[in-house]
Symmetry: C2
Subunit: 216 residues, 2 copies
């Protein structure tokens, strides 16, 4: 493949593995931490949606003549490491992770949308249409904070750790996959740091939505 198309394979590969592993991890969190069957089903619903996205990405890779397994391989370690470092200890942490994690993924899709071909952009838009699906987490975390406002310190730290680890893994990936990094920043003379800043700002808005005000 040419340089820029292997950037696209990287982009679809990282998103595909992110969706596959999010699906499996959310399912595990639902099984392990959900306090009621309805909660389990709600997080399960989000997990199943991630699987649908994975399937779209895998099919798109196959249509481009790329082996999905090969395209995902370079991103297995950074994403597995991220999940390892952000394993929820309880239901509220699982909810915050679901909301923050899918939020980061959607930001990344949005960043990607500007730099891909028309068919891939359609896929991105289909994924972005599911944006509201993690809103149930906001409601549930909000209700828990109302009952016990002292939870907010712990959960805010938790969320900050998640985005910190994501940025750290993101920097490894950008260094190891220069074509992907180039693909994402090749407009308007941007550099990757600026993209990370935008992702951090979007994270701040999600923290507000969760009722977790930024720390000092």
């Amino acid at each position: 493949m040419s340089g820029s198309s292997s950037g696209v394979a990287d982009l679809l590969g990282v998103l595909a593995y992110a969706e596959l592993t999010a699906f499996l991890q959310l399912a595990e969190d639902a099984a392990r931490h959900a306090p009621t069957l309805n909660d389990r089903a709600a997080l399960g619903d989000l997990a199943a949606t991630e699987y649908t996205h994975f399937r779209l990405l895998r099919d798109r890779l196959a249509a481009l003549g790329v082996d999905p397994e090969e395209a995902m391989a370079p991103f297995v370690k950074p994403l597995d490491d991220w999940h390892e470092q952000t394993r929820p200890g309880d239901w509220l942490e699982a909810l915050v992770k679901a909301y923050v994690g899918t939020g980061i993924a959607l930001d990344f899709y949005r960043e990607a949308a500007a730099h891909v071909d028309e068919e891939t952009r359609q896929l991105v838009e289909e994924v972005l249409a599911d944006e509201g699906r993690s809103e149930f987490a906001v409601e549930r975390v909000g209700a828990a904070l109302k009952e016990d406002p002292k939870l907010s310190g712990r959960l805010a730290l938790w969320a900050r750790r998640m985005v910190g680890e994501a940025l750290s893994q993101g920097q490894h990936v950008a260094a190891a996959r220069p074509e992907l990094a180039t693909l994402l920043v090749n407009t308007a003379g941007e550099d990757i740091t600026r993209m990370f800043t935008r992702l951090t700002e979007a994270h701040g808005k999600r923290m507000e939505a969760l009722g977790l005000t930024p720390g000092p």
Copy 2:
């Protein structure tokens, strides 16, 4: 609800919880045991299908005016116990469990189909249309047995344990939920033992398909 309609709620409830928990357990097995990303995706695909079935059952319960959580509640312990007692130790055990477990579930749908209203029967047929989805497990187990025929003893025992535990949990459920048992056997003067015999025979056929001949 009347006697027979509460039998239907039980039937949809046990199937719903079976699908929800199969979805979550298969996802966990895929994350934990799949040797390659393609294998992980294949078992993930089966898991996501179970979730689709769960959603059909939940919606059908809701349409009947039954709270899905309430309908599932009586079956949480027997099904969780079954999964606890049949936790795969490796990828081949996970595959055999996927094939045998979804097979038992499909047998149960077929048994159920004869005893439910028209709309519920449509749902059952929609689920049964997914029957081929666990066939990939047959291929992969077959390939492993070809390479190492000595595996067959251990895997045959494993499969027998699974069906044994299923029958044992099934008997608990039949005793605790007489309306459900009645619903399933109220034709032709059958008793529940005969239904269990049919399920055991179907299991034997699956063992042959897997290349796991019945023990002495």
